[in-house]
Amino acid sequence: MRLAAVDARAVELGLVPGLTLADARVRTPDLLVADHDPLADADFLQRLADGCCRYTPLVAVRGADGLVLDITGCAHLFGGEAPLARDIFARLARRKLAARCAIAGTPDAAFALARHGRQGAVPPGQEAHAVRGLPLRALGAAPEIVTALNRAGLKTIADLAARPRAPLAARFGDDLLGRLDRTLGRIDIRITPHRAAPSCIVERCFPEPIARSEDFEAALDMLLGKAVRTLEERHEGGRIFEASFFRTDGRVRYIVVETGRPSRDCKSLMRLYREKLDSLADPLDPGFGFDLIRLAILHSESLDPAQQSLDGRQVDDEEITALVERLSARFGRDRVLRYAPQDTHDPQREATLRPAVEAQVETASWREPLADDPPARPLHLFEPPQPIETLAEVPDGPPLKFRWRRVMHEIARAEGPERIAPEWWRTDAATRDYYRVEDAAGHRFWVFRDGLYGRDTERPRWFMHGLFA
């Protein structure tokens, strides 16, 4: 076992990552160790990244212990770059986290400086000068490349920058030169944020954290009003809204509501949010309070101002859409459903259930029953089919009686078989012979024999698949 990471005190004692635990224990008998849990670390970093969304929507996780924030155009909201960095430090210190921070024109330069150089902000255009003295490790290239360059006598970034480029590219590949250019500030790249930047964000900072539900509902209401005005200007309506509640201790809680059609009706959106907040399985816990609430519109669609028709039909439709939205917000979108037909004969896949808030696209149509025919499909379907014991006159005929759930049913009427074979590309299922049967008491069942007698199996099994009304 080796040390994976050490804190500042341990460094003072001469312990470094990579040292075996036995050695470390010998040097420092009262050493405190904890198991290395990379997944928990990654999860924590992810949460830190969420918390850093208060500074800018563009936050990316880099490596196992780095965050890159694109603060272009955001710094002035916090009084400039240095105050922003101070705010980050203050918040991290409250959670007893040590951090290093550098601000530079390109993410790579900032990253190299934060890890290996001077902290603080680099004036625009001065990246090349600032990173000159850094060791080659700061480039973040593969260790063997760094070793090879070191052996060749190249120790710092300045050494490498002074060499002709063509031989370097031939020997070490384009990647190294790309890293060098980005670190020197010659090329800039965008970071890939860990959460996509939404099309519209409104937020409200509180000088004092708020913790009462009336307060943050009022704040949310105000934010919705602001977002709706933006949407109006764009002639758009939002479909997915996300409210982020930033706690003072850095935790962020996201609450998403979805509407069935583009909407910019502040009142109904607020009602959806109330439903959602009331029905959360683990309620919104303000802890010591929220100091920032943000509302983002994750998905919007064009919505032109429309005049309502006079016949009231549209009003009815809207009422039902609003009802579906309310129920979805309260019970979850996978609980309020609509049926969609599928182009198959397999009874289990004939109908699928889709969330009712989604737009419905019809790709197939329902099988039209013939006039004057009794129902050919049951009203209730068992999934999976339930095994039954049957007694039949002949092996490939309908059953005479069957036992289901420990009750014997004498069959009085039967019709069938209706042979339903799986599609030819499905080899895992057998052909089924379905019978509609009615027992002496008048219960109607849909039973099937799995596999054809004599062809697929010698002892076919029977299943109960559905109940007719």
Partner: protein, 268 residues
């Protein structure tokens, strides 16, 4: 402009009482005169109706009867059905092609799946307040303690306010006092056989357990006619095959169907 608005408001004022009276007096007929007659023209729209399965095995019959009632009551308007997860496991889930076979387009049905009885009641009550729906159905399994007189009264009031019929299906439950306007007990009944002794149209043996107007308990036997989307009178006793054949004269003191059970014809 102002004059127009005033005229419109006055017109609305004049129509308002009619509309409300209309909603209160609105009935939907079952399509069977023998059933509608004693009920006074059919079942009221804005009211709670309870459908009990006579035995747990009659769950599909009770659901089918309730859906048929909802289809009659809803007309062209959409349906909302709330179903308890537990019922899906016990009685199978609602199968959309089976709905088509009852004469209803599944596209106009919203299905809400609730985890427990309280979810069913909450979702049902919320839906019942929406006047744009044609009918609200609730499938409840067992006897949840939540469903007391107060809860059912709440349903009855919500239905009366919106004019939407609420149809509550109770499976594995004993009829209890409630604020329902009508209470039915439904069992599957032998269908009128078709050619080659095939099972026929859905048929139900229904019993009116309670009616707010004080009607006495009565039994009917009805079938569901999908093509007309209407009930029709069913045959009270199971007949033999519809094909003509020689029959043995029956002794007067024996029931008609005694010699008929076990008579099987090969189908298909």
């Amino acid at each position: 402009m102002n004059a127009q608005r005033d005229a419109l408001a006055a017109l609305k004022q004049r129509l308002l009482p009619h509309g409300q009276d209309g909603a209160r007096a609105a009935f939907f007929s079952t399509g069977v005169p023998e059933l509608d007659g004693p009920l006074g023209g059919g079942l009221p729209l804005g009211a709670l109706h309870e459908v009990y399965a006579r035995a747990p095995a009659d769950s599909a019959a009770a659901s089918g009867f309730a859906l048929a009632l909802a289809i009659r009551g809803a007309g062209k308007k959409p349906l909302l059905w709330v179903r308890q997860d537990f019922a899906d496991g016990e009685a199978g889930r609602l199968h959309a092609p089976g709905l088509v076979e009852l004469g209803r387009d599944p596209a106009s049905l919203v299905l809400v799946r609730a985890r427990d009885a309280s979810g069913v009641l909450r979702a049902g009550l919320e839906a019942l307040r929406c006047g744009a729906l044609g009918a609200v159905g609730l499938d409840l399994w067992g006897e949840p303690g939540l469903l007391d007189l107060t809860a059912s009264r709440r349903f009855a009031l919500a239905a009366a306010a919106s004019g939407v019929p609420a149809i509550m299906v109770r499976i594995a439950a004993k009829p209890q006092p409630s604020a329902a306007l009508t209470r039915w007990s439904v069992a599957a009944a032998p269908s009128r056989p078709l050619l080659a002794n095939a099972p026929g149209a859905p048929s139900f043996s229904i019993r009116l357990l309670r009616h707010r107007a004080g009607l006495e308990a009565r039994d009917w036997h009805v079938e569901w006619d999908r093509d007309r989307c209407s009930f029709r009178e069913g045959s009270p006793r199971p007949e033999g095959s519809t094909l003509s054949r020689p029959v043995v004269p029956l002794p007067a003191h024996r029931p008609f169907a005694a010699g008929q059970t076990g008579d099987l014809r090969r189908a298909g």
